[in-house]
Symmetry: C2
Subunit: 464 residues, 2 copies
């Protein structure tokens, strides 16, 4: 009897085990079915992402290959094969506007933000209906603006360009052509006021056609009541470098305005109301941080301006990269998912924290000052909010400190000189957008610099 029970239990165990085997076998077979052609690329991408660079760098699938594997690309001030060497006497480089502070967000959202591109994906010049524009991306752009409450897109046209950079010139071209039919004068292009972002000048001069020319800042025309020609004014709002919201200075029937809205996101500024200008330019670069994808868009009211801008993109390059558009679409879907505030909150928290930290140091200095940005009601956060600008616009206050960039350079902080914004060199711009290690180096060097002033400030800083 006992032996029978024992035998019975063996049989049951064996049957269960065999069933489990069948289950595993089916599941494995099924899993294998599920991924076929994408498996290799997925494994490669994950293997590359898993390479360690000591936390001081990262590897990309298209990085320089040594011994069959792409190598570590170290953060600034780190070196060696695995980025483990900290380079002595290395400065904090906060010159450029690389929006790498958003990189951790995408590492945290790795699964939803990954893109798999098939070899035969979008080989044609066109999306359906001979369009250069992904309708799904356009739809998602409108959705994101509605979420951020930063622009009205209903009934507006959308043009894609290679970053907002290209759209600046496409807009100048389109508006100057509009003007040229109505006026015998060459259209004058101006930038709102000093300090302003230098490409308005350099790009307009570089591509100067017979129809337009760069004139300087808006004050050059404001007092010239006798100028009867057409004018295009660039307004950056929030402004680069100082983060303040701006409005056009010039008004009148012969003035057209290009609103560069690259920084008009809850990351960087209060959103008092959705922007509703005739021509506004945005980009993925300062929204999701993907500057490298070169995806920008213009929101345009007038159908003729829209058509001229589309012509520009067509003649310049027959549309923008479908790969960049697919990437942007995937990223915007992540931004819109969940409670749809995840990215905005992440970005705002980092930048307001950085601003607070930097402000505390500057508050202890008598030698240097930061720009003022008024606290304002933000419709996105639904409350009054403190500043969180993309850049610090620093003034060297001592009379003899005429070259502020040089003073910072000696203190091992690389900023962008005021002259690059057509302001005095008494100013320097420091980027708050870069990766965490760059920001921490900036803070560390700033503390040393302000400490050198001595007095109460130095004591306070040492207790930070």
């Amino acid at each position: 009897m006992a032996k029978n029970i024992q035998r019975f239990s063996y049989v049951v165990c064996l049957l269960v085990s065999i069933l489990v085997n069948i289950f595993f076998f089916r599941k494995m077979y099924y899993e294998k079915d599920k991924l076929s052609w994408s498996q290799r690329a997925a494994e490669e991408a994950e293997a590359v992402a898993a390479i360690s660079c000591s936390g001081n760098g990262r590897v990309f699938v298209d990085g320089i290959v040594v011994d069959g594997k792409p190598i570590c690309e170290c953060y600034s001030c780190y070196g060696g094969n695995d980025c483990s060497l900290l380079l002595a006497t290395c400065p904090a480089d906060v010159e450029g506007g690389d929006p790498l502070f958003l990189e951790p967000f995408w590492m945290q959202n790795a699964a939803s933000s990954a893109v798999v591109v098939a070899g035969w994906h979008r080989m044609s010049y066109f999306f359906p209906n001979q369009s250069y524009i992904s309708k799904e991306l356009e739809k998602n752009i409108r959705k994101i603006h509605a979420i951020a409450k930063n622009a009205i897109t209903d009934g507006r046209y959308i043009v894609f360009g290679v970053g907002s950079t290209q759209l600046l010139n496409a807009a100048v071209h389109a508006l100057s052509m509009e003007s040229s039919s109505s006026s015998p004068f060459t259209t004058k292009v101006v930038a709102n006021k000093i300090p302003y972002y230098s490409p308005y000048k350099f790009q307009t001069e570089f591509f100067q056609t017979l129809h337009y020319e760069f004139e300087g800042d808006s004050s050059m025309l404001k007092n010239k009541s006798d100028f009867g020609g057409n004018v295009i004014e660039f307004v950056t709002s929030p402004n680069n470098p100082d983060g303040n919201l701006r409005n056009s200075v010039l008004k009148g029937p012969n003035v057209k305005t290009i609103y560069d809205r690259a920084y008009y996101w809850p990351h960087y500024t209060a959103i008092p109301a959705p922007a509703d200008e005739d021509l506004m330019i945005f980009s993925i670069s300062k929204l999701t941080g993907h500057a490298g994808s070169r995806v920008g868009w213009a929101i345009v009211k007038d159908v003729n301006v829209y058509k001229r801008m589309m012509d520009f993109i067509d003649v310049a390059e027959m549309g923008t990269s479908k790969d960049g558009q697919l990437r942007a679409l995937t990223l915007l879907k992540v931004v819109a998912q969940g409670d749809d505030k995840q990215l905005f909150n992440f970005a705002h928290q980092i930048l307001s924290h950085r601003w607070e930290k930097l402000s505390r140091i500057f508050s202890l200095s008598k030698r240097f000052s930061l720009q003022r940005i008024p606290t304002q009601y933000c419709t996105f956060l639904d409350r009054i909010r403190e500043p969180s600008p993309a850049y610090a616009w620093v003034k060297c206050k001592r009379k003899e400190d005429k070259n502020c960039t040089e003073i910072f350079r000696v203190a091992k902080i690389i900023g962008r000189p005021g002259s690059k914004f057509f302001a005095e060199n008494r100013y320097v711009r420091l980027s708050l957008l870069k990766g965490q290690h760059d920001f921490e180096m900036l803070i560390s060097q700033m503390k040393k610099l302000v400490s050198q002033e001595g007095g109460v400030g130095a004591q306070a800083i040492s207790s930070f």
Copy 2:
């Protein structure tokens, strides 16, 4: 004894089964470990690729979404949700240069050509060393030219642009600036000779700066011995539309030449020798068929011209899409793999087959003729080869057939009119680059058209 043996065999079976269980469990656990963040995107891409469109269309991951899924995009002349409806009275559309004949190659090489892009991939404006250019892509471009034996790249500079389209204007800009320092005249831009690709004219006029202007075809200047200014000549070789190899017409110290080498691949032409001109423009579009990625490159001898072209790309848009560059890199690696002739042989076989088929039909017509392309020795194939051009350049020979495009349109074939190449409308260009279904429709309609002539030809065609 027998019972003991039986019990023993139960135990052994159970142990084996448990071991198999452990094996499966470990394998599954290991497999699960292997793919983590890329799994979702890979599954999505494969699921989308598996949607059936009755063989008459395809679905893309960024297609219009209906009921949560991207919908079928049907080939021309097909409709319905699953592209199963053949639209009656639909013409063969062979107007454009979409290189979709290469799509099947990438479907056949699905695993090696797939790309997985991580959410944090290349967010910066720059590759290492503040470069806009992927060094790995540059390296692979040089490698492919060496394989195809179609261009010398050693010691040459490489500039990337948004398709070859953008590089045409970047080159005109760079060369006109070179000239403007040495001459008081505006640089004249000309195109080699009629028939020529229309963007040379339209783009040069559209972006006309103070430094250059479009003059027409080279003959406009050839006989003007008194013109002392600088000249830029566009030479397309092989030529679009007629596929013939060309050389510059104008010579002299004040002449610069831009060689548009988009079609100088073994797909389309014999390669008599590697091209070695001062400034040559190529693109991924006509090499791998990925027109939508907008990746082109110029090979430049002179360092100053190279620098000016790089400046152009910088000022125009701060570099080209990193996503497009990654895609191009992956595709070029596939081209270079195996016996490294796979893509070239595939492309050449399709196009020479298409040309042969079309030529047979035209040989039976007295009303229409095709361009002549001499057979030539090809260093890539290492033999004399028959033509396999990208386009048929058709002449309507009857005196009264002044509008060839219209005659073809009535016969349900949409081509590009001769006037778009500044030739007589007695000519029409038919694309041989499109998908197989488009080509088959062309053949079917061509047979009908030539049959209408009656006589021996019609009889011969009916026996095809």
